[in-house]
């Protein structure tokens, strides 16, 4: 086969990778290309080079999820919250919902690693999870007697949990539909966006909407999103122990020894 045909095949696989709702189990050509990637090292190199040209990285070519891309900071292809949430005031809530959905779907760190784990989230429980975390912070703030005000004229200095708490989780409307500015409605919009892009699967309407995770979501959260955000938090000087115990906890509790056993 000529070089040009190889290149065309690599680009074809790249194009399949962009169709995030598609898995190679549903498309024979996609499946052939994924199979070829796994055995043909030259082809794999070609694919990586082609992806690099798009400012993308190939996170994985996975037997379950197919081709999974990651974005580099330079790329034009990264999706942002602004694309699917039009209201500026709603965006922090929506971005937080992205994290909360992942956090609930992979509540235990080992769930992220377990290939067989299918996370199951509902809109209501995602909201409750953040809400309870916020309540705990509220309680702690009340105990330390911390002032709860925000400097005038600088509304973005409000702590995120307070911003979350101010927004009502639900609000009544004339009909039984959700109020578009309520937290549940925003979380639902995020979940629907993820479902449209092949990251979640719709699994019913209970509790405001139930979703299960896909392999692709697991890989992207594990390999890219989680690590990246952890790094950024560390850069801000906020480090939290691997056992999940926040550093501000009482010093009496020692973390169990040898948690850093894994890779």
């Amino acid at each position: 086969m000529s070089d040009f045909e190889d290149l065309a095949a690599a680009c074809r696989l790249l194009a399949f990778g962009f169709q995030s709702g598609l898995t190679h189990r549903r498309n024979a050509e996609y499946a052939t290309l994924v199979g070829r990637y796994r055995v043909d090292a030259a082809f794999a190199r070609l694919l990586h080079a082609a992806a690099r040209g798009f400012d993308l990285t190939v996170i994985a070519v996975d037997p379950r999820a197919g081709l999974v891309f990651g974005t580099t900071p330079e790329t034009q292809f990264a999706a942002s919250v602004a694309d699917h949430i039009k209201q500026v005031a709603d965006r922090p809530i929506a971005a937080l919902a992205h994290l909360a959905i992942a956090a609930l779907a992979y509540y235990r760190p080992e769930d992220l690693d377990d290939e067989a784990h299918v996370g199951r989230v509902t809109i209501r429980h995602v909201d409750e999870m953040v809400d309870q975390a916020a309540k705990e912070l509220e309680h702690r703030a009340a105990e330390t007697g911390e002032d709860d005000g925000v400097p005038a004229g600088q509304p973005d200095l409000v702590q995120l949990w307070r911003y979350h708490q101010r927004r009502n989780p639900v609000a009544p409307t004339g009909d039984a539909r959700a109020h578009p500015k309520s937290r549940h409605a925003i979380t639902k919009r995020v979940a629907e966006y993820l479902a449209d892009n092949g990251m979640l699967r719709r699994a019913g309407n209970e509790n405001g909407g139930t979703y299960t995770t896909t392999a692709r979501y697991q890989i992207q959260v594990r390999e890219l999103a989680g690590q990246q955000m952890l790094g950024e938090l560390a850069a801000l000087g906020i480090a939290v122990g691997l056992d999940g115990k926040p550093t501000y906890n009482s010093p009496g509790d020692e973390p169990p020894a040898s948690t850093e056993s894994g890779s």
Partner: protein
């Protein structure tokens, strides 16, 4: 902690009092806004009383798990509105009640928050701060529909103070009630008893929020230091309250039995009812508190006794979600946006193809006339076609033709052109032309009237062509006449 500097203290002691005043403002504001609703004549309602009724209803209806339903609150407010303005209809009372409820929830703002400015002295300089609060908070009920809970600020407003130790206030309320009952001042005691009931609700709310943190994450609370202390304190406090309130109740029962006055037994019965409500709420709280240990162990089992992580992946909830909630919006949003971007697949941007762009820019915008403009219904008048010839002219022509037999068109035209009959010649010419194409059968006289052409030129001022000969011929039978 994210707060690097020392938490700012309210050195002047003013901020607390400003906040206490601020929470009353939304209620007072209702009365101020009332005359501004020019379309409605709601001047006669006392809005503050209605608002307090709404908050009161929510406070008393909410229990440990559930909130108050919107309809219940509206109903309670309508009842008071009816007392204030009995002349007005139920529809208006409902409107007023909904307006009150919407205003207290602060419908129409994004956050549904009220805010108020106050100042703090930080290192010798005065800094303005914004205090945000809610009066009625909308939460999710067990069926997923919205419920209302009164905020701490709202309950504090009802009982008339903020930022106080709730447990000691409750002791004080009971002591006051006890003193009033002992001296037989039951009218005053009624109000004191209601205050005591609200304190009870407030205390239950306080305990509930403290226990919720534990339910979420047992690792963030210390059993000995936090939970057991709360539990013991609260149980002791409730036991004291139950005892104190039972004593008051016993006193009241005795008073009711020995009373000679008319009014006292009824007043005492009301007081007993309120005290029983207090006692019931205490009992619920007590039951909840006694389960705390069990719940803690169950949560501990669920949360802690799981196998340790096999590989060092990120613990999303504890390593990411918890810390980021503590950051300010300014710091947190870029991080969250990064996470959202990384956790979603790359999107294909819409690529602009230059010729398409140029065509798109050159195309004139569509005329938007169908949806936007007012559609005017055309009105159709009764316009009829004006007949060219009048009935008189028809009769004149008919009479001419009736007599015609072997007469030429020119002669007929001359007969038709009598003075005073304009256009009759036109009608005649048309009729004769018709006879040329289609002879007219007269069934009555069994004759056929027809016009024949015989190469005679018509010499006329108006018409040209053959000078037709109009003839009448008898019909032998229909077919022959045609031929």
């Amino acid at each position: 902690m994210s707060e690097a500097h020392r938490p700012s203290r309210d050195t002047l002691g003013l901020a607390t009092r400003v906040k206490a005043l601020a929470v009353a403002d939304p209620v007072l504001d209702l009365e101020r806004r009332k005359p501004l609703l020019t379309s409605r004549d709601w001047g006669g309602y006392q809005m503050e009383e209605l608002a307090l009724t709404a908050i009161d209803t929510v406070t008393l209806k909410m229990d440990f798990e559930d909130g108050a339903r919107h309809e219940d609150v509206v109903t309670a407010v309508i009842r008071v509105a009816e007392l204030q303005m009995p002349a007005r209809g139920l529809d208006e009372h409902t409107d007023v009640a909904r307006w009150i409820l919407d205003s207290l929830v602060n419908v129409g703002t994004v956050d549904r928050d009220f805010s108020h400015m106050y100042g703090l002295v930080l290192d010798g300089t005065y800094v303005s701060h914004e205090f945000s609060f809610k009066l009625l908070r909308e939460v999710v009920g067990p069926d997923g529909r919205p419920r209302l809970r009164a905020s701490n600020e709202a309950i504090a407003m009802l009982v008339g103070a903020v930022d106080i130790d709730i447990a000691s206030e409750q002791v004080a309320a009971d002591a006051k009630l006890e003193a009033l009952v002992r001296r037989g001042r039951l009218a005053d005691a009624h109000r004191a008893a209601e205050m005591a009931l609200r304190r009870t609700v407030q205390y239950a709310e306080y305990i509930r929020t403290r226990l919720e943190g534990m339910r979420r994450d047992v690792r963030s609370v210390d059993w000995v230091r936090d939970v057991r202390r709360i539990q013991t304190e609260a149980l002791e406090h409730i036991e004291d309250r139950i005892n104190a309130e039972s004593v008051i109740k016993d006193n009241l029962v005795r008073m009711m039995d020995n009373s000679t006055e008319e009014a006292t037994p009824a007043q005492a019965a009301e007081l007993i009812a309120i005290l029983e409500k207090c006692l019931r709420r205490h009992a619920t709280l007590q039951a909840n508190l006694q389960e705390v240990g069990e719940k803690f162990r169950a949560e501990q089992e669920r949360q802690i006794f799981v196998p340790p992580p096999s590989r060092s992946y990120v613990d999303l909830a504890h390593q990411l979600l918890d810390p980021v909630l503590e950051l300010s919006l300014r710091q947190a949003f870029p991080l969250l946006e990064g996470f959202a971007g990384a956790a979603t697949p790359p999107r294909r941007p819409a690529v602009v193809y230059l010729p398409d762009l140029i065509t798109g820019l050159m195309t004139l915008p569509d005329e938007q006339d169908s949806e936007d403009g007012l559609i005017i219904e055309p009105e159709f008048g009764g316009a009829e076609d004006a007949p060219v010839f009048s009935d008189d002219q028809y009769t004149a022509v008919e009479s001419l033709l009736a007599r015609a037999d072997g007469i030429r068109l020119s002669a007929l035209l001359k007969a038709a052109r009598r003075p005073g009959s304009c256009n009759t010649d036109h009608l005649l010419a048309l009729q004769v032309l018709g006879l040329f194409g289609a002879p007219r059968h007269d069934a009555e006289h069994r004759t056929t009237l027809a016009a024949l052409a015989d190469n005679e030129e018509l010499d006329d001022e108006v018409f040209a062509g053959n000078d037709l000969l109009v003839v009448r011929s008898p019909i032998v039978n229909g077919l022959e006449g045609e031929a």
